[in-house]
Each structure stands twice: as C-alpha cells, then as structure tokens.
C-alpha cells in the first residue's frame, strides 16, 4: 500500500466514523432520518448546500472544462440563483413545516392537491437523480485510481466508497451527511485554495503571468467565442441554471431540514462568497493548459498536473478531498431517492403501509438505489452523460409549476401543471436523444439566437401547455374545489 492510498483510506474511515456518530442516539423515525428532524441551523445548512457546489463534477469537471474550453467555463460563477433562493426557499420551507412534508414530490402533491402530480414529480426526480449518482461514482473511480497511482482499480474504489456511504446513510440519515459535509468542505477548501495558488506561481510566477502565457499561446481561449459557446449561450445557460438548480429533488430535504427561514436567508448571503473558491479550481485548469497539454480525458487535468508537481502523500490528500466530494453529494442523493420511492410512489400504490414498515422500506431502498446506480456505472458507459444532461433539463421543467404555486393566486391548475411538466419532459427527451440544437431546429435564426441553450425551447413548450390547459380547466376546478380537496391527501 502506498502512502497516498493510506491517506485516502484514513479520510474515508474518519468520514464513516463522523457519519455514524451523527446519529447521537436519536430515535430514527422517517422525519428525523430524511430531514434531520428539521433542526439544522445556518452552519449545517450551509455545508449541505455548499456540498452541492463542490461535487466531483466541479472538482474534476470545473478544472477539466477550464482546461478544455477556457472562457466558457466561467459560467460556473453564477450568483443569480442565490438571489432566487432568498425568495423562493423560505416559503417552501414554511409550507413544508406546516404540512410536515419530507420530499419535493410531497410539496407538489400537497400544493396542487393532486397525488397524480406527486407521482409524476417523484418519477421524474428519480430518473434525474440516478445519472447524477452515477456521475459521482464514475468520478470517484477516476479519483481513487489516479491518486493511488493505479494501485486500486476504479471498480474496487467505487464499491468501497458506495458501501461506506450507504452505511452511514442508513444509520444516520441526513444528519450523517451534514456531519461528513463539514469535514469534506474544510478539506476541499484547504486543498483547492492551496493548489490553485501554488500551481500558477510554481509554473508561471503568478496569476496574471499564467493568464498572459495562456493568452499568448492561445489568443482566443480566455474569452467567449463568437459562435457555439458564445455570449448568448453563456447568458441563456446562466438563466436556465438559475431556474434548475433548486429543482433537484435532493435539494428539498436540505431546505426542509433547516431550523428556520433565517438559516436559509443567511445562506443566500454567504454562498456567493463561497463560490469564489471555485476561482482556484479554474486556476488549476488554466495552469494545466500549457503544462499537461493534449489530454484525451480532460477531466484528468487536475490530477495529471498534481501528480507531475507534488509528492505522493499530497496527491493522497487531494484524492481524499475528491472522494469526499463524490460521497457526500451521493449520500444526499441516495437519501432523497429512497425517500421519494417509498413515500411518494410505494405509499401511493399501497396506502395502507404503516409508518414503521415505510421507515424500514426506505432503508432497504437506499441499498436498492445504490445497487441500481452501480449497475449503470459499470454498464451505461456513454449514455450516462446524455442522461445527466437530460436530468438537468428534466428538473428545470418543474420550475414553472413550483414558482406559480407560491403566488397568492396561483394561475396554474393541477391539470395545467401536469400538462406543462409532461410536455416539457417530452420536449427535453426528444431534444436530448435526437441531439437537436436551436440551430438545427430553426436554421434561419441569427447566430446569437442559435447559440441559446436548447433547454429554453423545452421550457417554452412547458409554459405554453401549462397556461393553455390551466385556462381550460380553471372554472371546473373552482366549482369542484371541495371534491378535489377530498380526493387528495
């Protein structure tokens, strides 16, 4: 066993210990398990939400995207969604607390008084989340095999990591994720700031010198290109991202777990500052451009450069940070998927299931979802990237129905919400699978419009159907309000 591997395992065991210890003798009913008993304060909510900002996707993908594409990678600095979170999340939290909701699907089902909508949202959510878990696991495999200098195969690494995370999720629920998230973020913060500063100075003598060197070697690399990943792509992606990011089903338990609205609002203030740390991830990517050129798998940029530069023990520390960046988001994803399948799909089909049985079933489902993700990790090679892209656009389709449900007079009916979400999802599936862009659908548009993120089309389809169907079903709903109320719940 080499030194870097020992360090990686040390951190893995420590996070397992923290995750299990987080149970603290609490009685683990579903509410305690799924949303931490709604007792988390600003700090834990911060680490859980921040965990979303630092997944393997940022760690490997952020530096890899900077390495491969340059300027367009700056889209990861999007502060607008924190502004949205300040308004959007407190009313969601309030409503969830009043009605004891545990999942995103609960929220839609309850707000629109429609179990059908709840099930649709649940299924869409699970379909979107599994590729997300798979992506984390694939990242984990890359990180461990790179950081252990090939001593451990990606397959073995993925098994070990997944067993660890499944264990603490089953035992401690969301509290386990919250505690390990603290360890993870401290470690990542130290590692990312250090290597993001050290590498530019070591190889180029400074940040500006590094960018000047890259600029001299590749003149158009740092700015956005005129076509393709152009400014209109950049802006439309920022906008779509803003709508989509809080629609991921696993974000909801974190919101519900918060002790107060205050914790959520304070996070809207701190999170943008925390995003600045991502600058150092970008620096690493740019440092790699001239130092390890020509990588086929651009996601390896960070590790290739690190291995070229540092001693094995420090590569181990980077590896440990990378593993935690994969495992903590995975734990929240596993927890959210299991809760949704048991409470929002199984319980709907079999309404007589007792709380105790449901509680037990949810834990088994954690294992089931973990195994399903493993299957796709090892068998779904390339389709998974397509699925993830689709997942992101998929959850974005939930935004209109959610947004309008928060207004005092909701203009959208349950039929409208269902129609909008379903047509939006159909549009996403068609666009993703057929590989369409706005340019191929509407070839006569000017270039600036062609470069718009194609997700905008699906969102437009969604909005049109939402409002058209709502207009037709409005009166009927008002007349039958009572009947609808009874048939729901």
């Amino acid at each position: 066993m080499n030194i870097s591997l020992a360090i990686i395992f040390g951190f893995l065991l420590f996070s397992l210990y923290l995750g299990i210890r987080a149970r603290k003798g609490e009685k683990m009913d579903l509410e305690q398990w799924a949303v931490g008993g709604r007792k988390l304060g600003t700090v834990f909510v911060f680490f859980l939400l921040a965990g979303e900002a630092y997944t393997t996707f940022t760690f490997l993908g952020g530096s890899g995207f900077a390495y491969a594409a340059g300027g367009p990678s700056f889209y990861i600095f999007n502060a607008a969604y924190f502004v949205l979170s300040y308004w959007l999340l407190p009313p969601i939290w309030q409503y969830a607390k009043e009605h004891k909701l545990l999942s995103q699907s609960d929220f839609f089902a309850h707000k629109y008084k429609s179990t059908a909508l709840g099930v649709i949202v649940a299924i869409a959510g699970v379909i979107a989340m599994i590729p997300y878990i798979v992506l984390q696991l694939k990242g984990l495999g890359i990180i461990v095999s790179e950081a252990s200098y090939g001593a451990i195969s990606p397959t073995a690494a993925i098994w070990i990591g997944l067993i660890a995370v499944t264990t603490f999720v089953i035992i401690s629920g969301l509290n386990g994720s919250a505690w390990t998230a603290v360890l993870k973020d401290i470690l990542i913060l130290i590692v990312v700031i250090f290597i993001g500063t050290y590498l530019p100075y070591h190889y180029y003598g400074g940040f500006q010198a590094m960018f000047e060197a890259v600029h001299a070697a590749k003149p158009d690399f740092i700015t956005l290109p005129d076509a393709g990943l152009s400014t209109s792509w950049f802006v439309s992606t920022l906008v779509l991202w803003t709508f989509g990011v809080y629609m991921w089903p696993h974000i909801f338990p974190t919101i519900f777990a918060s002790k107060s609205k205050k914790a959520i609002k304070r996070n809207a203030i701190i999170m943008p500052l925390y995003q600045i740390v991502l600058v150092f991830v970008i620096f690493v990517g740019f440092a790699a451009v001239l130092q390890v050129p020509g990588l086929e798998n651009t996601d390896l940029a960070l590790f290739e450069l690190a291995k070229k530069t540092f001693d094995p023990w420090f590569v181990g520390v980077i590896g440990a940070a990378g593993i935690l960046a994969a495992l903590i988001p995975s734990s929240v994803l596993l927890l959210a998927s299991a809760t949704i399948i048991s409470k929002n799909i199984f319980k709907v089909v079999r309404p007589n299931t007792s709380d105790q049985a449901l509680n037990k079933l949810t834990r088994y489902l954690v294992v089931a979802v973990a195994l399903a993700s493993l299957f796709f990790t090892f068998n779904g090679a390339n389709t998974i990237v397509t699925l993830l892209l689709m997942g992101y656009s998929l959850v974005t389709q939930l935004f209109p129905a959610l947004f309008f449900s928060l207004l005092k007079r909701n203009p959208v009916t349950k039929q409208g919400a269902i129609a909008g979400i379903l047509t939006g999802i159909a549009a996403v599936a068609y666009i993703t699978i057929s590989g369409q862009t706005i340019g191929t659908i509407f070839p006569s548009l000017p270039q600036a419009l062609k470069d718009f993120d194609v997700g905008i089309i699906a969102l437009l389809v969604n909005l049109i159907f939402t409002f058209a169907v709502s207009a037709f079903t409005k009166d009927k709903n008002q007349n039958n309000g009572k009947v609808i109320n009874q048939s729901a719940s």
């Binding site: 502004v83 300040y86 960018f211 920022l238 809207a268």
Partner: protein, 65 residues
C-alpha cells in the same frame, strides 16, 4: 427598494453580453471576463446582506448551529 437591489444582481448576466468579453485589463491578476464574474459574486453577497437587513420578515433568536 429591496426589489431594486435584487434586480441589480442581474447586471452580471446582462453585462456579460455587452462589455466584458475581453482579456484586458487584468484585475487582481485575473482577465477582465473572469474578474467581472468574481466581482459580482462579492457584490451579490453584499447586496443580499443589505436586503436581509431591510427584510421585515426576520425571525428572532440566533440559530448558528
């Protein structure tokens, strides 16, 4: 007032369209386009802080943990 402040946070999104797609000048060692994005992270945080201070719907009690 608070709404106007929030709208300010959209400037980076719109601004990136027009002015800042360029490398020079360097600011704190970062090319213009990157510096702009980072500058607005800081500004968003400051603006959100002010919005929070002006927020009438503030709850009592501290709950850091």
């Amino acid at each position: 007032m608070r709404k106007i402040l929030m709208l300010l946070c959209l400037i980076p999104v719109v601004g990136s369209l027009i002015v800042i797609n360029r490398v020079e000048p360097y600011i704190f060692g970062m090319p213009m386009i990157l510096a702009w994005m980072v500058f607005w992270l800081v500004m968003t945080s400051i603006i959100m802080f002010v919005v929070y201070k002006l927020d009438p719907d503030k709850e009592e009690g501290d709950d850091a943990l």
